[in-house]
């Protein structure tokens, strides 16, 4: 399988603090990879560098053989943990916005998903609850036929039913030509959809294995292994 994301000796510092320390990893297409680690481990930093929000201080990162820039952003669909639409925008306007800027965006898919969620296209973003805004963002991100999906805490702050919807949406839009990276703390919820997991601790990668390998070698779930590796 081809690699959709490659990091070689990637380093990022915030002043004196090293958020990522010479990280090297590869993410294959067609796989759902969990990026797991405690708070401040570097997960979000890695995702932000891959999405183009941050620039690395050292090393190299390639997405689909492109350096991070305009070309990589065409193939990467990024969901941050923050709401990012102008509050005055209507849901229908956000759809038009994505359609205008992303050639791989499917308006029909987005409208169908929003209809199922009973979210009115005329509703303004500012009138929606936090959970509903996150659902709108997720729907738009997953309505793109991207090569790489970067989902940063997609299930943070939403109810269990919404989490199930999010996982179903991710699986429904999953295809063999794309890679998905999910950064999350809710490991037990997301474990069932993961193919591979990466553990990050203090800016270092401490583990990169498939879920099946972990279960067969360690005889435990990813959640249990996580608690063991990152025990306080």
């Amino acid at each position: 399988m081809k690699n959709i994301l490659e990091c070689h000796n990637l380093t990022k510092k915030y002043g004196q603090k090293t958020a990522l320390d010479n990280i090297s990893l590869s993410i294959e297409t067609g796989k759902i990879t969990g990026l797991l680690g405690p708070n401040g481990s570097g997960k979000t930093t890695l995702i932000k560098i891959a999405s183009g929000i941050l620039s690395a201080d050292g090393g190299e990162i390639l997405a689909g053989e492109n350096k991070i820039g305009t070309e990589s952003k065409k193939i990467i669909s990024y969901l941050p943990e923050r709401p990012y639409f102008t509050p005055a925008m209507k849901v229908s306007e956000t759809i038009k916005f994505f359609k205008d800027f992303y050639q791989d965006f499917s308006e029909d898919t987005a409208e169908e998903m929003l209809k199922k969620l009973d979210i009115s296209p005329d509703a303004k973003i500012r009138t929606l609850s936090k959970g509903t805004r996150e659902k709108v963002q997720l729907v738009l991100v997953m309505s793109r036929k991207a090569k790489l999906y970067l989902l940063d805490e997609p299930m943070g702050g939403v109810d269990p039913a919404a989490r199930d919807f999010i996982l179903k949406t991710i699986l429904k839009n999953y295809n063999e030509n794309a890679g998905i990276i999910i950064s999350t703390h809710l490991i037990s919820d997301v474990e069932k959809v993961l193919d591979d997991v990466i553990f990050i601790k203090n800016g270092h990668m401490v583990l990169h294995k498939s879920v099946d390998e972990i279960r067969s070698e360690k005889g435990k779930s990813v959640d249990a292994l996580f608690r063991e590796v990152f025990a306080c």
């Binding site: 929000i53 305009t70 923050r82 990012y84």
Partner: protein, 275 residues
């Protein structure tokens, strides 16, 4: 892609600016009507209508000032919120260059400032004031012709002079907006502090850069006058100097504009901090 970015920036601003422009026009119309009607009446009714005319004119002047302030505030807030805060997670991950993101905001700001000017000029014409003072197209044409002949007598090209003034206006507009944006980018590139402290730092940066710019401009423009020992009472010498001064001023403003723009773009490319 730049066109699409400008489209969305204009759409975001139009919801605020259009009502302001409509209010200005309505105030102007009301003011004009009360002025005309007041002239046709007598007695206490005339005083009442005249009072309405004064109040509406006062509101009109306030609304013009408010619109200019709103345009400035909206320009700053749009740039800050859209590129330096949470909305930046969307904007900086679009398949567009940072340069395009930046120039979209600059161009939109200039369009709205020019729209403000156009609405104000239209309001002045609609108010009937120019007509009262005999200012019409013929008057303006005659004034320009007189200016050209006068300039020629002093050895100055009137067309170039006027073109230079127009370029100064646009360059000053670009420089002012780019200075605001650079101050915001510097304030928001610091790795600590929350929104309010970054805003305060941005304001402080703006004040400092404004003072530095004014000092530099003063030195560029007025020191040559002192060194060359111009005869200030010699009209020809002073007019020739002001023509040169305009081009020097343009060059200085272009220099500052380039610096401010580069600072903003480089900081967004290398030191973007949306946290």
């Amino acid at each position: 892609m730049l066109g699409k970015l400008i489209k969305y920036d204009l759409k975001a601003g139009i919801h605020i600016m259009i009502p302001a422009y409509i209010f200005i026009i309505l105030c102007t119309v009301f003011s004009r009507i009360t002025n005309i009607v007041s002239g046709m009446l007598s007695g206490s009714l005339k005083h009442i209508i005249n009072f309405l005319f004064i109040v509406s004119t006062f509101i009109l002047i306030l609304s013009i000032m408010a619109t200019c302030v709103i345009t400035l505030v909206w320009t700053v807030l749009r740039y800050r919120n859209n590129l330096l805060r949470d909305e930046g997670y969307l904007m900086h991950t679009l398949p567009v260059t940072t340069v395009n993101l930046y120039f979209s905001k600059i161009i939109t700001a200039i369009i709205f400032f020019l729209a403000d000017t156009a609405v104000i000029i239209f309001s002045v014409i609609l108010s009937g004031i120019p007509k009262e003072y005999g200012i019409n197209w013929e008057y303006i044409k005659n004034a320009l012709t007189t200016f050209h002949y006068g300039a020629k007598e002093y050895g100055i090209n009137g067309n170039i002079y006027i073109a230079a003034i127009i370029i100064v206006i646009f360059t000053a507009l670009y420089m002012s907006v780019s200075q605001l944006f650079a101050s915001l980018n510097i304030g928001y590139s610091i790795p600590f502090g929350k929104g309010a402290s970054r805003d305060l730092i941005s304001i402080a940066v703006y004040i400092v850069t404004y003072i530095i710019m004014q000092v530099v401009m003063f030195m560029i423009i007025f020191i040559p006058v002192l060194i060359a020992d111009f005869d200030i009472e010699n009209e020809t010498e002073m007019l020739k100097y002001t023509q040169t001064f305009l081009f020097v001023e343009i060059a200085a403003m272009v220099f500052f504009s380039v610096i401010y723009s580069l600072v903003s773009i480089k900081l967004m490319q290398k030191k973007l901090n949306l946290e």
